[in-house]
């Protein structure tokens, strides 16, 4: 949890009563997702994502390494998150860090969103290692959703240098490792266009927070004994920092545009009805559709902006054919 954010008992009770009435502190609806702002940097793989006041910057980087011995045909994808050594002073244990890392791994790596086999250069010898560095700049809740979104946008935006393998093994002298590297030609981006990563689908995480409220049947105060108090479960979408501090349970659903559930995680002790989970999935589908469209349009705008100064007509291989009408 972030330093200096403490909820008093009065504030806690007020917030819960507000939620029981279907209202939120920031004026949003119960099922309203905050506006997502995605900024892409000049460098490939630099993404700055804002969700309300929460802000995450992701840098994707790559290097050529030797693949793992048990997976010679696959590249490597790593996620690096350091909450404690960052700009915000976190007083929590490593659990948050681990949870975010595991969630991104499950959503992107294990759902085969990033095709690791496409990162292989020479089987068993060289492969691309992709690393995502997450920098948390501002925290106002829902770190998992925003982190997952930022990483997937970063991967979609990132491009790898073009590599060709020199089959003429005439490299003489130097160590064995140098000779191996001499067979690879890494083309700079101004020489040959870089290649996008092979992303098979776009998984997006949506977090639902659950609260119990003891709602009474009639007016509160006068006839407390007569009122039948029910424990109803409130399901909240995109919780803010204060709402996250009070939640009793949460459910993270990762879905793609094809309505495929990539992973589900339910944390916390509060039992949730199976139908509620189905409803959550249905709600998540709409948000996933909207976010996917937003990601695609942002990437397209960036691509068009980069192509503005490129003389595309001059780069065409074929000439415009002129027909001579005789």
């Amino acid at each position: 949890m972030v330093k200096g954010v403490v909820l008093s008992r009065n504030e806690q009770e007020f917030l819960l009563q507000l939620l029981a009435q279907g209202k939120r502190l920031d004026g949003r609806e119960i099922e309203q997702f905050r506006d997502v702002e995605i900024k892409l940097g000049e460098e490939y793989g630099y993404v700055d994502v804002k969700l309300g006041r929460s802000r995450v910057v992701v840098r994707i980087s790559s290097e050529i390494v030797k693949p793992f011995e048990d997976r010679p045909f696959e590249g490597i994808f790593n996620i690096n998150i350091e909450l404690n050594s960052n700009l915000l002073l976190f007083s929590s244990s490593d659990n948050d860090e681990l949870l975010i890392q595991r969630m991104i791994e499950k959503s992107i790596k294990r759902s085969n969103s990033l095709d690791l086999e496409s990162l292989c250069i020479i089987a068993g010898k060289f492969c691309w290692s992709i690393k995502a560095d997450l920098h948390f700049i501002e925290f106002d809740g829902n770190f998992i959703d925003i982190s997952n979104l930022a990483v997937i946008v970063g991967l979609l935006h990132f491009k790898l240098n073009n590599v060709t393998i020199n089959n003429n093994q005439n490299a003489s002298g130097g160590s064995n490792n140098d000779q191996q590297y001499a067979n690879l030609i890494i083309h700079p981006i101004n020489e040959i266009d870089p290649i996008s990563l092979s992303i098979l689908h776009i998984p997006i995480s949506i977090t639902f927070s659950f609260y119990t409220s003891t709602s009474s049947g009639g007016d509160t105060g006068d006839n407390d004994k007569d009122n039948d108090k029910d424990q109803s479960v409130i399901c909240l979408l995109d919780a803010s920092l204060k709402e996250e501090m009070l939640r009793q349970s949460f459910l993270i659903i990762t879905m793609n545009k094809n309505k495929e559930v990539c992973q589900i995680l339910k944390n916390g002790g509060l039992p949730i009805d199976a139908l509620t989970i189905l409803n959550c999935c249905n709600r998540a589908v709409k948000i996933v559709d909207e976010l996917t469209e937003k990601i695609k349009s942002t990437l397209k705008e960036d691509q068009l902006r980069r192509l503005e100064n490129v003389p595309l007509d001059e780069l065409r291989a074929e000439n415009a054919r002129q027909t001579n009408e005789l």
């Binding site: 840098r59 960052n86 560095d133 501002e138 240098n161």
Partner: protein
């Protein structure tokens, strides 16, 4: 960064400038330098600094807070400075060097005796760094020489000093004097100079006689003694003075927004 020709230097008299002229002047002189403060709400003070697309830096300050026994100093404030790269793969030797130099500088500029037994945590987070933004260099095989690492170090240090100054002001930390740093690229050398503006009352735009106090200077490359002196006492100082006025104008607007209330609605 583009090279500046020392011969073409013609900085106008900044004391008599109209207020609109300052941003235009600084943008031409400081190569797309942009800065902002109070960007992180959970910190006591924060600032961001951007130099075109080459460098993006965020500085956050937490404190003065209760210090751990290990770091506690009985009569003054303890500093905990950390510089973090944007990519985890880059080596940290540059960061260590920047941390050490910053510590030497900030110890003299922060009024440490005001906060005994307390701790000030200063974090620098590079989002884009000039030493990392070359895709080809990064993916090249091992043992490839990196020519720009020394000049990028100076640029990073300059950014850290200026960001620290803005964040310290934002955190309301007592300073002995205002300071800033400028980087000057000559044809064959790079110079980083940090100046102290001790007697300069920048908020009121009124200046008294002030001496040129150089807090820190580091130069790389080939240059003559006369070039260095010209940069230190003429060009660099004027550039630093202009930057100081630019910082002051930022804080003037912040003070107007935050502390001066008028009924002009």
């Amino acid at each position: 960064m583009p090279t500046l020709d020392l011969e073409d230097l013609s900085i106008p008299d900044i004391h008599n400038l109209p207020p609109d002229a300052l941003p235009a002047l600084s943008s031409s002189l400081f190569d797309g330098l942009k800065f902002d403060t109070s960007i992180i709400s959970h910190c006591d003070g924060s600032s961001s600094l951007t130099i075109s697309d080459n460098l993006k830096l965020i500085c956050s300050i937490n404190g003065p807070i209760e210090s751990s026994l290990k770091l506690e100093l009985p009569d003054k404030l303890a500093l905990d400075i950390s510089v973090n790269s944007s990519l985890s793969t880059t080596n940290n030797s540059n960061n260590q060097l920047i941390e050490n130099n910053l510590r030497k500088l900030l110890i003299r500029k922060i009024n440490l005796s005001m906060y005994p037994k307390q701790l000030l945590v200063i974090n620098f987070q590079f989002l884009v760094s000039p030493s990392e933004n070359s895709l080809f260099q990064k993916n090249s095989p091992p043992n490839t020489p990196s020519s720009s690492s020394s000049s990028s170090y100076l640029l990073e240090l300059m950014a850290c000093i200026n960001a620290a100054y803005l964040a310290l002001l934002d955190a309301n930390i007592s300073l002995t004097s205002s300071f800033n740093s400028v980087i000057i690229n000559n044809n064959s050398s790079n110079h980083l100079i940090c100046y102290d503006h001790n007697h300069l009352h920048t908020i009121n735009n009124s200046t008294t006689d002030h001496d040129i106090i150089i807090l820190y200077s580091e130069s790389l490359g080939r240059f003559s003694q006369s070039t260095l002196f010209n940069i230190l006492f003429n060009f660099g100082y004027k550039k630093s003075l202009l930057l100081n006025f630019h910082f002051a104008s930022l804080y003037k607007s912040i003070i107007k927004q935050k502390f001066i209330y008028t009924d002009n609605k």
